[in-house]
Structure formats: C-alpha cells, structure tokens
Amino acid sequence: MTTRRILAAATLLGFALLAGTALAQTTLRIGLAEDPDILDPTLARTFVGRIVFAAMCDKLVDISPGLEVVPQLATEWHWVDDNKGLLMTLRRGVTFQDGEKMDAAAVKFSLERHLTMPGSNRKAEISALKSVEIVDDHTVKLVLDKPFAPLLAQLTDRAGMIVSPKAAEAAGDKFGEHLVCAGPFKFTERVAQDRIVLDRFADYWNKDTIHFDRVTFLPIPDTTVRLANLQSGQLDLIERLAATDLDAAGKDSRLKVAAITSLAYADILINTNNGERSKNPLGQDKRVREALELSIDREALNQVVFNGQFTPGNQWEAPSSPWYVKSMPIPPRDVAKAKALLAAAGVPHLSFTMMVPNTTDQLSAAQVIQSMAAEAGFDIKIQATEFASSIDLAQKGEFEAYQIDWSGRTDPDGNLYNFVSCKAPPALNSSRYCNQDVDAELDAERVGGTVDERMAHFAKIAAITLVDRPLIYLWHLKWVYAMSNKLTGFTAYPDGLIRPQGIAMK
C-alpha cells in the first residue's frame, strides 16, 4: 500500500513537472544586454528599448532582412506632389491593445506627438514632415516641406510606431509606464533593471504568427552570465553574444547561433575643421589621413579583436549592403605607400592622440591600430575616455582623432548625412567637415527616385569623402544571437531587432 502511494505521488509529481514545463514553454524569455530606458516610442533612445518595442508596437512599415521596406500597419504607399507627399493606405481591422480602433486619426495623432512633444527624440528624424492630412479613415497623406526620401525608412522604426491616442492622452508624460500600441504583445509589468513582462494581445491583426502567450525580457549586462542563463535553460534567446563566447555557444549541443551584419559601423573620426586641435598635419593634410588608412589591415584587426566575427568595411554601408559603392572597395594595407605619403607630407613620424570610449572592444581595436600604424611612422597616443565625456569633448573639438561607433540607420542617408554635410548638426559632425560638392549630392539623393538614381549620388559622395577622409571606416558590427535549439522561426535582421512573429518552441 505504501509503495503504491509513493508511486502515485511520484506519478503526480511527474505530471506536475511536465505541466510546469509545458507552461514554461508558453513564455519566450529573452536576455538583453542592458535595461531599456523609458518605453515610450516618442521619448525612447536605447537600442534594447527598440527590441522591446518590436514585440509591443507595430509600425507603419517594416524592413525585410534584405533591407526592403515592407508593409506593416500601412499596406500600400506612394510618393505624390513631386515627392513632397507620401500617401499611405492603412490596414483595415486593426485595433490597439486597449480595444480602440487604429485608423488615420491615430496615425495623425502619433506622428504629431513625435513632432510636438517636449523632449521628443523622434522630432529630428521626421523634421521634414510639415503636416499629416487625413484623406479618409484608412488613408493618410504625409506632407513634407521638401522632398525627403529617407522618411519612409524612418517610419520603419520608432517614428513609425502608432500609439493609442486615448491611452496616450490619458497618461500624458507617464505613457511610458503603460504603453498601448497595436503590436502582438501588450504591456503587463516592468521591474526596473530586472524584467519587462508582456502578454499576448488576443486581437492582434497578425495573431497567427504569434506562438507564445508571454514574452519576458531580462536585462543581463554581463555577456558570460547571459550565456550561462541560456545554457542552464533559464533563457530561450540572447542578443549580442560576445565574440569570445561564440566558441562556447557553438560547441553546446543545446544551443544554436544566428548572426547578421548590422547597420552599425565603427570609424575613426578625424578633426579636420573643429578648432585648434584640427590644426595639425592629420587634420589638414589628406595625404596623412590616407597614410593612416593604408597602415591599417582591417581583416587582421577583425581576426585579432573580434575572432573574425565582424565585417571589415571602408564605407558607411557594409560591403553586403545594396547601398555599398562597389567601385570603391576596401584598400589593402600598404605600409610602403603609407610611409611615402607621410614623407611627401613632410612628417615621416607623426604623433597624435586618438580618443577612444573605454569599452573593451574599442580599446583592444585601438591598440591593434596603434601597433599597425606605428610601422608606417605614426605614434598614436590612446586617450581612453568614458562615453558620455567623449561625446562632450568631440563636440567641443577637443580631439584629434576619435574612434567611435554609429548604431546605423536603414536608409544610407542616416549613416552619412549627419557626419559629412555642412548643414549637419554640429553635435554629430564633430569634425566640422564641409564640402559644397558633397552637400549638393546629399541634397540630390534626398529628393528620392529609384535605387539606381540615388546610388549615382552616393557614388559621387564616396568619390569625394573617401578621398578627403574626415572619417576612416573600419568595420561593421554583426548582431550575434544564441538560442535554445528548440526555438524555431527566428530571423536575424540588420537592425538587430527581435521580431516575435514566427518564433516558436518545438
């Protein structure tokens, strides 16, 4: 009798455990590298925040893994009025997570909120937008001051997220504490620095693609600990796996890895025109900058610092991008030519300071560059600087060279304009590089047209800026994800976001 009871208890316990496992699998647990900032698409600014938004807030349009603009809340669009108007047809039958209807009025409200809300981080992204006209319940016309082709790409990110006007108006500036959108998961709970919990939105327009009842985001800054959580089964998916952990993840039969070249790039920004610190051979003589570029072996840099995981690059777009200017490939390392250029410039041995944010990867890369450049005659002094301070110093022109990352934008304009245009915000064009020919081409590519037409302008810009070298592009980051091998349907996108549509657990 006692044995029977024990067996019965054990069986019940077994069933309970199995049930527990089954329940656990209705939750997708994602490990983030940081804790997001405020969850309001108008005010937010962090990358990890965008990952959370991807599960909560659908956008007017989205991107495909190949960077084409594809429908989301808008099903069709076309440019009108000589490219000064964008007519968008909205998807029918879409509701917000509070049950309100997603229609043209909601689109107008959301875009105007981005433009007018104090402290909006979206205003600069869509500043070309003059007004939003409601054509009918399911059609809006975005009216621009002047043609601005990158607008459509901006609408594939936070600027294109449509929020519930009723909920946003009721919450005011506290909307970020209970965001209401039209995405697949709705906000449930947030414990700062611990977790963000979202539950499935039953009336999501694309609900057939959603296979989890809940998504939990857990910020775990330490990469090793993030991987350990995945290995011990406490997480299902982690973002930004460190290059050094790739081997361990690859060898673990319980895991699989996915990677894609990101839109982000790293470069050396050279002070060519911003105050006294630009008045030196590096800032004033483009032969010296060419010598610096020729002294760097980008592939070796990638192998040594990033285990070969990143993509070497010499432009604002990765070589795999449809926007890469193929006529200007990565120049190979040529120390002899670099020495000759320095000699011709009258500075066979040149010393300069390179400011570098004090992160492990950036500092390691700077040290390798320092060593490579020394062979050509450069004496680089590395100035490791905390990130916020480095931005401040760069804006004030208190740098000679600045090794820095840019997180990347879908449209090439967003990876270029702000760093090389005379009209760029001084905060971003810290080198104060200015060339009227470049500006004319930038203005022309912004007017729009076909990919080929815009590419012709980008090629002309490349022919000037890659010779003037206010920036020396180094590498393109890769988004590397590790996940349980039971997870299916995950697709990596160049913008690094984790789209829950299609992801399932075997």
């Binding site: 405020i38 205003k123 700062a192 290995q231 905390e386 916020a388 905060a427 971003l428």
Partner: protein, 313 residues
C-alpha cells in the same frame, strides 16, 4: 545612557547635511553633461535644451542644490532622467532587495566567520588554526565577480541546481527567492566571513588569556561553558562593530555581485545611474545609503554600550 543617545542623535542631521553637500559637489566633478548623455547618439539640440531646462541643469549649482534639498524635505527625491520614474519609488523598490541580500550575506558571514574564529583561537597553532587562517585568506583574496562566475558555471550550467541569475520576490515564491539568492549571498558573505573569522580569533585569543577565564576554568567549568558563556561574550564586542560596518557596506549595494547575478538592488541601480549621469538617482541612493550607515553605526554604538557598561558614561 540618555545623554549618550542624545549626543548620537544630535550628530545625525549635521552629518547628513555634510554628506548631501559632498554627494552633490562630487557629482559635479564628473565629466560629461547629463543632458548630452541622455540625448543619445543623435544629440538633438532641442532634446538637450529640453532636458537641461526640465532637470534644472541650466541653473546655478547652489540653486540646484536648494531644489534638491527642498524636494527631499517634502519626500521628493527627484525623477530619474533615464527611465522617468520618481527616485523615491526606485529606492523603495530596490531597498528591500538589497536589504534581503545583505541580511542573507551577513547570516552566511556569521555562520562561517564566528565559529571558525572560535575554533581557530581555541586550537591555536594547530593544523585547524592554520587551515582556518588559510581559508580566511582565500576568502579575502578571491575577487567576488570571479567567484560568482565560477559558481554560476558549476551550480547552474554544469549541475543545473540553481538559477544562474535574476531575482524573484519572496511574495512571488519564497523558494525561488532563496534559490536565486544563495549564490550571491555566499559570494558576499564569504569575504566578510574571512574578516569576521580573523577578528573573532584575535579577540578570543586576548580574552582566553584573561584572569577571569582562568578563574572560570579553576572553578571547574566545562570547556564549552568557559568559551561560549564567558569568553565569547566579551570577544564579540569588536565583532559587533565590525558587523555593523560590514552590513552598512552591503546596504550600499554590492555593485559587482549584483551585476554578475543580475540582482536588481542598489548596486545595479547606482552603476547604471553613474554611467548615464542620472544625477537624481545617484544622489538619492547615496544619501539613503549614508543614512543607513549612520543609523547602523548608531545601533552598533548602542549595542556596544549595552554589552560594555563602561562605555555608557
């Protein structure tokens, strides 16, 4: 005793004032502009100007200090510039987490440190004493973050016994709560246990050679009674002070341990706040920690006075 307490209480306000000036002043020495740090890589001038105005960053320093102190007097510690939540709410959310972790770490420290110290003293110059001393040296020298990662790899990844990181409140699940805190509490307690062991050992050695202990032994009392009832009570006086200081230190947030185990306490809060130039959060947390430290010192003084009446005058 009353005069003693009054003297101690009278010192609290001036100390807090001094600490508040120090926190506020030191933070201004940090390079980098909080508004720029918050504006992200886009550095939109309109956003920067808005943030400067909203958080009084465009005001003179004394005025900003006044706004802060005035807010605190009304229970308002300001708002986090990063996640736009009241600092008071963040402190109230994180304090119980850190307090629980600190309490468990102290339990680990006491459970290991005091018995080890007593045994090492009683068995002076034996293999047990040397062994305990070496273990203490190991506990002191091993970096917390390294021990933490090794424990995660062993107990979570290899054996699968404990969750690798994270935190569950006792209200959600007491069992899960304790499971998530075992490793961080051990990592923190381990280092303190080593200090406790060394202090208990030396205090015990001093006491064990005292006349009254010899008298107790001469009266025929058992070894256990002599050690635990007569010697230990006096030997614990310096250990109480040490315990209070260590506990205060733990309350200020075990920065590295909380980072490694992803415990959402004061340590993680302050690290993120410093890197994001979230002044209001840094100020609020440091002030709160300073207050806890002062109070713990006060309690230690009172406990000290209760144990040793000679100190009451």
């Amino acid at each position: 005793m009353t005069a003693f307490l009054l003297r101690r209480f009278a010192l609290i306000l001036p100390t807090l004032f001094f600490v508040s000036v120090l926190i506020f002043g030191l933070q201004q020495l940090l390079p980098g502009d909080p508004a720029q740090a918050m504006a992200g890589e886009d550095q939109d001038p309109a956003v920067i100007a808005f943030l400067r105005q909203k958080y009084h960053l465009d005001q003179p320093l004394p005025l900003r200090y006044w706004y802060w102190v005035e807010g605190i007097a009304h229970g308002d510690f300001g708002e986090s510039i990063r996640i736009k939540r009241p600092v008071r709410d963040l402190i109230l959310e994180k304090l119980p987490v850190t307090a629980e972790l600190a309490g468990l770490a102290m339990l680990v420290a006491l459970a290991i440190g005091i018995p080890a110290g007593i045994i090492a003293a009683v068995k002076q110059d034996t293999a047990i004493d040397y062994g305990a001393t070496m273990a203490a040296l190991w506990g002191l020298s091993i970096p917390n973050f390294w021990l933490g990662i090794l424990m995660i790899l062993l107990f979570s990844v290899t054996l699968g016994w404990l969750p690798a990181s994270g935190f569950v409140t006792p209200a959600e699940s007491l069992k899960q709560n304790l499971l998530t805190l075992i490793m961080p509490a051990f990592v923190l307690g381990n280092a303190i246990a080593a200090v406790m062991m060394r202090h208990t050992r030396s205090a015990m050695l001093q006491v064990l050679s005292a006349d009254y202990v010899r008298t107790a032994r001469a009266k025929g009392l058992s070894q256990a009674s002599v050690i635990l009832r007569h010697a230990l009570r006096n030997a614990l006086i310096p250990v109480v002070t040490l315990g209070a200081l260590e506990f205060g230190g733990l309350l200020s947030g075990a920065v590295l341990t909380e980072q490694v185990f992803t415990i959402p306490g004061f340590g993680k809060l302050i690290v993120d706040a410093v890197f994001n130039r979230d002044y209001a959060v840094v100020q609020g947390v440091v002030l709160c920690t300073a207050f806890a430290y002062i109070m713990l010192n006060l309690f230690a003084d009172i406990a000290y006075a209760l144990i040793n009446p000679r100190l009451r005058v």
